[in-house]
Symmetry: C2
Subunit: 224 residues, 2 copies
Amino acid sequence: MTARTPDSARDIPEATVARLPVYLRALTSFAEEGTTTCSSEELAVSAGVNSAKLRKDLSYLGSYGTRGVGYDVEYLRYQIAREIGVTHDWPVVIVGIGNLGHALANYSGFRSRGFRVVALLDADPTRKDEVVAGLDVRSFEDIESIVAEHAVSIGVIATPAIAAQAVADRMVANGITSILNFAPTVLSVPDGVGVRKVDLSIELQILAYHEQRKSIAPASEDAS
Amino acid sequence: MTARTPDSARDIPEATVARLPVYLRALTSFAEEGTTTCSSEELAVSAGVNSAKLRKDLSYLGSYGTRGVGYDVEYLRYQIAREIGVTHDWPVVIVGIGNLGHALANYSGFRSRGFRVVALLDADPTRKDEVVAGLDVRSFEDIESIVAEHAVSIGVIATPAIAAQAVADRMVANGITSILNFAPTVLSVPDGVGVRKVDLSIELQILAYHEQRKSIAPASEDAS
DNA sequence: TAGATTGTTAATCGATTAACAATC
DNA sequence: TAGATTGTTAATCGATTAACAATC
């Protein structure tokens, strides 16, 4: 009981989970360049973290390196992909096909990184019959049959803020258990449903805060 | 020297800084609804955090509430806006006017939350003379004059990954000191330049990780 | 064997939370 | 005065980091 869990299903800290995709991407770059082996230092530089943190993170997955040698790029890449769960594609629906929904539907990075957009939904009936990124824009009312047909568990909300909660409720009612929310609003969902938020203005405001402080700050680090 | 810094320029933890924009948004909602006063509990619910964390966060800014009563919505809203630095608009340039750049250029939330898009730049000469969101798409070569003319310190990168580092270098060379990066790549910038990254695939992969574990996890919390 | 690099330990740092004295 | 709610304290929790023993 107190021995380390031997195989999978260990408990990985949230901060580590958030970095695994970054490592995965760096390893994919290495593989594309033909690099077959790398050290924790090289991988760390490529991922923009320090190597102690990288090794600590990887240690939660298991022992996939070789002391004195480093990591096999392809092997580690696969192990991380497996841990994240992107060795097969996840079907995804996007709701809200405005400017942002358009951009998301056309984003090729989803496909290459473990996701497949299976449907585009919009509540506005005038948008129906539009074709975006090779997919028909369908009525939001079709969500039930689409989620059932494709066994969708991940939904993306790209609607105006005012509509987002209702969309989330409807997603959850139809069995979606993970939501990526681009609408600038706080969603409330039942326990067990995962939500991540991408908020463009908030990111800019965080930059603005630091930007503002640059002009105020005493020049204490100024070595000139 | 050991007394609390009396006025502004206190040291606010990063985690708090990242939440201030969320509080600001919640307060703006309250104001629009005509709510003039709120308690930490009400504001916390609206922002999706617990009230202890909210009060702790606000305590870094100062004492803007009244014990036994709560907060004046408009007053607190102004204090937070001032702390973030969005009592006046920040000029912003967007580089890379593909699908995502289009969406960002048209995003009305920037304008209402402290930012003004002053120029859209793209390296592709065939995109010049296009008008997006009421702005001419201009050559990336114009960045120097535009940054100088509008005193731009914040840049948004919405180019393909392959171009992003060169764009960032050029931004930094021209005096931009804060970058919001949508390209799926790690940027390296000099000390003193702030970078925030928004990575759509990474957000989905984090959701996928948790989604995957739901099917694997032992039903230890299952009370049925 | 000597050199290199991992995986792990332990110390440190920062963030969260509950509880409550202060005070309206 | 009694009730309400803030602002702060202190305990806890989680994340980071440097250092190094293990081991290729």
